[in-house]
């Protein structure tokens, strides 16, 4: 077969192993007879050997990990609008404003924004009612800020510690050297300190910072008495969705029956709310306290909408407490009677 230009393409495809089996066989027959193709193929093979025979580089696992960490930092969630997160961008400014906030008289917090206030309201807090909290609450708050990176938390703690040391009213309670046998880490120490100085914030129950602090307190304080006080204060606060959510959370999750009861009474002020109604239904079906279930049935009776009937009907059959069952039956009859009158 005589060589023509179309065969150049065949040669390339043959070299790159892209010919189908029949075409490959046909080309190999041509190749045996064509000196031009043989020369070109040998040149391609020489090029191939040059390309293949060069030393190359491969990444080490350490490199991959290092670059991966960079990527993880790059894809980290954008900071939210909360002022706490701005400490990364303007930490000195934050620190100065924090110092100012602590050293100014009361009522000076407003300009700093509610979220930041939550973060920096350290120490004891007095409301007109006398609610008190302790410094652990701040650490707890910082730890609960899932948006804060470890670095931000560390900066926050440092700022707090610096301030407390400047104020001169701290007591070192523990000084620990971590891994004293590890020569690379021999400068790492951990200092625990107690804060003796009290801080005060006064404000009305319409103050959002106060409300936020109370909401946190109602959910997370260890002392039941403190949680109870927070719930009572929240029930006197102007109604809003955030407070309602907190009260519902207390009602459904607090382990203390009296606190749940207080929360339920507060929730009943939110007459038009579907969320509150659903919470009451949940109490009727699930709460461990018969007293609370009865109270919730009565609240639902007052609401009186049709969708509460199946819940009360179910309770009248299924509840394991006879008294609850009977009350549910009576309420059910009353509701059905009033419905038939309509």
């Amino acid at each position: 077969m005589k060589h023509d230009k179309k065969l150049d393409e065949m040669l390339m495809l043959y070299f790159f192993n892209e010919l189908s089996e029949p075409k490959k066989k046909a080309f190999e027959i041509h190749l045996k007879e064509c000196a031009h193709c043989q020369t070109e193929l040998s040149k391609l093979k020489i090029m191939n050997s040059k390309l293949a025979d060069t030393p190359d580089k491969v990444p080490t696992p350490e490199l991959i990990e290092k670059v991966n960490m960079k990527i993880m930092a790059a894809i980290a969630p954008e900071p939210s609008n909360s002022l706490i997160n701005k400490i990364t961008d303007s930490f000195q400014e934050f620190y100065n404003s924090m110092l100012m906030a602590f050293t100014r008289p009361q009522y000076q917090f407003a300009s700093m924004g509610a979220t930041l206030i939550i973060g920096i309201l350290i120490g004891k807090i007095w409301l007109s009612s006398g609610l008190q909290n302790d410094p652990e609450m701040l650490i707890s708050l910082i730890n609960r800020q899932s948006d804060l990176t470890a670095e931000q938390q560390s900066k926050f703690r440092n700022a707090f510690a610096n301030y407390m040391i400047q104020s001169g009213d701290v007591e070192l309670s523990e000084l620990v050297q971590e891994n004293p046998t590890d020569s690379q880490n021999d400068n790492m120490v951990m200092v625990n300190f107690k804060v003796k100085k009290d801080f005060a914030l006064k404000g009305g129950l319409d103050n959002q910072a106060i409300q936020n602090m109370l909401r946190f307190s109602a959910r997370h304080e260890k002392e039941p008495a403190r949680r109870m006080r927070a719930v009572k204060l929240l029930s006197n606060s102007p109604q809003n969705k955030d407070i309602e959510e907190t009260l519902i959370a207390v009602l459904l999750h607090d382990e203390n029956e009296s606190i749940r009861k207080e929360a339920m009474e507060a929730i009943c002020q939110y007459n038009d709310s579907e969320e509150s109604k659903d919470a009451l239904k949940t109490v009727v079906l699930n709460d461990t306290s018969a007293t609370l279930r009865i109270q919730a049935i009565n609240f639902l009776k007052e609401i009186g909408s049709e969708d509460v009937i199946p819940i009360i009907a179910l309770t009248s059959i299924r509840d394991n407490d006879e008294e609850v069952k009977n009350i549910a039956k009576n309420v059910l009859e009353e509701l059905e009677n009033s419905k038939s009158k309509e």
Partner: protein, 184 residues
């Protein structure tokens, strides 16, 4: 696709960044090797690797489990390389990157004498320079074919071109390399 991998991807789609770290650990070496074969220097390879995974992360919600996950990453990497080269025109030879010490050089043959190694090392430079003189399209197609062993129809699918276009780039790249490496 393995169930474990499907779970990881779903977790990332649901906003779990740590699951993404696991994915990078799984495919990191493969992706970096391919990135290096495109970039031919460590600094650009690392940039390409980072940009690839950031795009994978940003677009992961559009991954519908219709292909292997690595294929999807590979496609993003290849197109990124293709467009990056296109943007830069000719790739520049750059100084060693700050992480150069974290790369291992693989000698062609351990049995070689030192002077042969030196010769090969010098030759590698010649090959890299030759590759850098190809157009972005020629270079990408040639690397995909020669180093990655892809079929022409697969390259066409990855780069969203016709097979005819890919053949044209491949043949021109080959001719040019023969010329540059003095085997014409």
């Amino acid at each position: 696709m393995e169930k474990e991998e499907v779970d990881l991807i779903k977790r990332i789609q649901g906003g779990d960044n740590m699951a993404f770290h696991a994915i990078m650990n799984k495919y990191g070496s493969r992706v970096m090797n391919v990135a290096y074969s495109f970039a031919k220097n460590t600094q650009d390879a690392e940039d390409l690797y980072q940009e690839t995974f950031i795009r994978v992360f940003r677009n992961i919600k559009s991954f519908r489990f219709e292909s292997e996950f690595y294929t999807w990453i590979y496609r993003i990497l290849t197109n990124l390389a293709y467009n990056q080269f296109k943007k830069k025109g000719r790739m520049q030879v750059v100084d060693p990157g700050e992480n150069d010490y974290l790369w291992e050089t693989i000698p062609g043959d351990k049995e070689d004498e030192a002077d042969v190694q030196t010769y090969k090392s010098a030759f590698k430079e010649e090959v890299d320079n030759a590759l850098l003189q190809l157009s972005s399209q020629q270079r990408t197609v040639f690397i995909l074919k020669h180093y990655e062993g892809k079929k022409i129809k697969d390259i066409a699918a990855i780069l969203d071109c016709t097979e005819g276009t890919i053949k044209r780039y491949l043949f021109r790249a080959t001719r040019k390399l023969q010329d540059l490496l003095h085997v014409a």
